[in-house]
Symmetry: C2
Subunit: 200 residues, 2 copies
C-alpha cells in the first residue's frame, strides 16, 4: 500500500484553504505524505447538480459566516474575497507546472496561493500574482507563465479532474487514503479515527 494521502482541492474553496494548512500535519501524524491535486469544482458540480453553497438561499448566508468562523476557530487568517467564487484554472495549472519542475515547492505554493486569495485579497486569476509567488519560492516566473499555456499542462489538469471524478471525488477538499474517501476539512478527525481503527 502506498503511504500517501491524495489531497484534492479547488483554489476557490475556503475549506480547501483550511485543509491545506493542516493536511501535512495530519499526513505526518498518520505516517503518510501528501499528493497535491489541484482540481476544478465546475466539472464535478455539473455531474452532482450542485451549486456553490454561497449562492444558495439560507445556506449561502450560513456558509459565508461558517467560512470565516471555521478559519478563526482553527487559527487561520481569513478575509472573505470580494469576488467569490472565482475560476481557478490558472492557479491549478501553475501548481501542475511546479509538480514537474519543483515538486518540493508544491505544498508551499498551494498554501501561499490560497492565502493570497483568502487572506490578502489578491486575485489569483492574475498570472502576475502566481508568477510573483513562484519567484519568491525560487522558481522561474517566466517559465511558469509559459507553462500556463502549455497544452501538456492543460491536458494533465484535465486528466487529473477526469481521474478524480472516476475515483468519486465531487467536492473540495477531498482526501483519498488507499481509496477510502473523505470529503471536507471536517473529516480530518474522521481520518484520524479511521486510521486508528484500521491499525487495531
Amino acid at each position: 500500500m502506498s503511504k500517501t494521502i491524495d489531497f484534492y482541492y479547488d483554489y476557490s474553496s475556503p475549506y480547501g484553504y483550511l485543509a491545506s494548512m493542516y493536511i501535512e500535519q495530519l499526513a505526518s501524524d498518520i505516517g503518510r505524505t501528501v499528493n497535491w491535486y489541484p482540481v476544478l469544482l465546475g466539472p464535478m458540480f455539473k455531474i452532482t447538480g450542485s451549486r456553490p453553497p454561497a449562492n444558495t438561499a439560507l445556506k449561502g448566508k450560513y456558509s459565508v459566516h461558517d467560512f470565516a468562523r471555521s478559519a478563526e476557530l482553527f487559527d487561520v487568517p481569513y478575509q472573505h474575497p470580494a469576488e467569490f467564487p472565482i475560476a481557478t484554472v490558472a492557479a491549478a495549472r501553475a501548481t501542475i507546472f511546479l509538480r514537474h519542475k519543483h515538486p518540493e515547492l508544491v505544498g508551499e505554493f498551494t498554501k501561499q496561493t490560497y492565502a493570497q486569495f483568502f487572506a490578502h485579497g489578491k486575485d489569483i486569476r492574475d498570472v502576475a500574482v502566481l508568477a510573483a509567488l513562484a519567484k519568491d519560492l525560487g522558481a522561474d516566473p517566466e517559465e511558469m507563465q509559459q507553462a500556463l499555456a502549455d497544452q501538456k499542462i492543460k491536458d494533465e489538469l484535465k486528466q487529473d479532474i477526469d481521474q478524480a471524478i472516476d475515483r468519486g471525488v465531487f467536492g473540495s477538499p477531498f482526501m483519498l487514503i488507499d481509496n477510502e474517501a473523505f470529503w471536507g476539512f471536517d473529516r480530518f478527525e474522521h481520518i484520524r479515527r479511521w486510521v486508528k481503527k484500521q491499525n487495531k
Copy 2:
C-alpha cells in the same frame, strides 16, 4: 441569555441520529440544556433547492458510506435503512405531544426513535412503533396516537418549522446557541471551540 442549545433535527437524518446521541453530553460540557425541535427537511429543501445527498450522483454513494462510517467511528450502532429517506411527520408530532405531556421524556424518545430507524430496521412512520416506544417510556400510547391527528399538534410542528426557517435553519442536525448557527454533527467540535473563544 438563555442557557440552552436549540437542537433541530429530522428523524430521517443519519447525522441527526448521531448528533442526538451526543448533544446532551455537548450541552452539559458547555453548561447548557437541550431544546429538542424535530422538524421536516422537505420544506427547507424546497427553499434551498437541495436534494437528499443520498439521491445525488457521486455524492450519493459517498454519503451512504459516510453515514455508516461516521456511526462506526463514533461508536453508534448503524444499519442503513432499506427505505431511505422517509417521511417523518408522525415521529415529529409524537415528539411534540411528549413535549407537552412528558417533557422529561423527549430526549430519550428522540434517541430511541432514531435508533429504531437507523439501528433496528423499524419503520418509524408506523404509529404502532412510536406508540410502543412511548409506552416503554411510561407515556400513554393511546393518548399519543390521538395526538398525532390533533390539529394543535399539527399546527405546532408547522410553526416550529416556519420559525426554524426564519432563524436560518436549512438542514439536520442544526444547532442554534444564542442565535449562533451550526450545521452538522461535524460542527460539535466547532461549538466547543466557539464557546471557549466566547468565554475568553
